[in-house]
């Protein structure tokens, strides 16, 4: 038999095993629960509010300085 054919035939189970392993890695990342989503939203919007307050304070300070 042609040696290359032998090599290819020998490789088939190896490749099959690797492809199966790759398929097993295609796991779905679980979607976030509503509680997890809300926790993130509360944290991020809290930071935003602090920043907005700073913006409004800066605007007000400039208004006072330049009526």
């Amino acid at each position: 038999m042609n040696p290359w054919v032998s090599i290819v035939l020998a490789l088939v189970p190896e490749v099959r095993a690797v492809v199966a392993a790759i398929a097993a890695l295609r796991k779905q990342y679980p979607a976030m629960t509503p509680a997890e989503i809300q926790a993130i939203v509360v944290d991020v919007t809290g930071q935003a509010d602090t920043a907005f307050d700073a913006v409004l304070a800066k605007i007000e300070a400039d208004k006072q300085a330049h009526p």
């Binding site: 490789l11 679980p30 919007t45 913006v55 605007i59």
Partner: protein, 148 residues
């Protein structure tokens, strides 16, 4: 032993070829970011952007590149965006389902008057506020509202 090593090396090469041939496109993407989180992140980015914009506007006025009147127009617009941003934050933290939050947020955006006020913005101020306006637009679109 040498034959087994050769076999393993060849197998690795074949696997690499398979991966390069586009196996990656079959791997599903992770779960998409929830829309409430996207909008929250955009609002947070808006706050940071407005802070930088206000500093820029004041500096432009102090350097004579922006008149006091033009600064006032820009300041009012920034105030409207910041105030609306806080209202959107409050809605995002509410117990309303996302479908209801979307409607309320879209309404807040329309009622803010930003879409009208932006048309009166002088060019220098418009440039300084461009990033903030883009984020405000992103928030509106994220909630199913109109584009500015």
């Amino acid at each position: 032993m040498h034959r087994k090593h050769l076999k393993t090396t060849a197998a690795s090469a074949v696997v690499l070829a398979i991966l390069l041939a586009g196996c990656a496109h079959k791997i599903p993407n992770p779960a998409p970011t929830p829309p409430q989180v996207k909008v929250s992140n955009a609002v947070n980015a808006l706050a940071a952007s407005l802070d930088a914009a206000i500093t820029g506007l004041i500096s432009a006025r102090d350097n004579g590149k922006l008149s006091q009147e033009d600064l006032r127009v820009a300041r009012d617009l920034a105030t409207a965006m910041a105030t609306t941003g806080k209202q959107i934050d409050a809605e995002l933290r509410s117990a309303d389902p996302w479908a209801d939050q979307k409607l309320k947020i879209a309404r807040l955006v329309v009622d803010s008057g930003v879409a009208t006020a932006v048309k009166k913005l002088p060019p220098t101020a418009a440039t300084i506020l461009a990033a903030s306006l883009a984020l405000f637009n992103e928030i509106s679109l994220g909630a199913g509202g109109p584009a500015l």
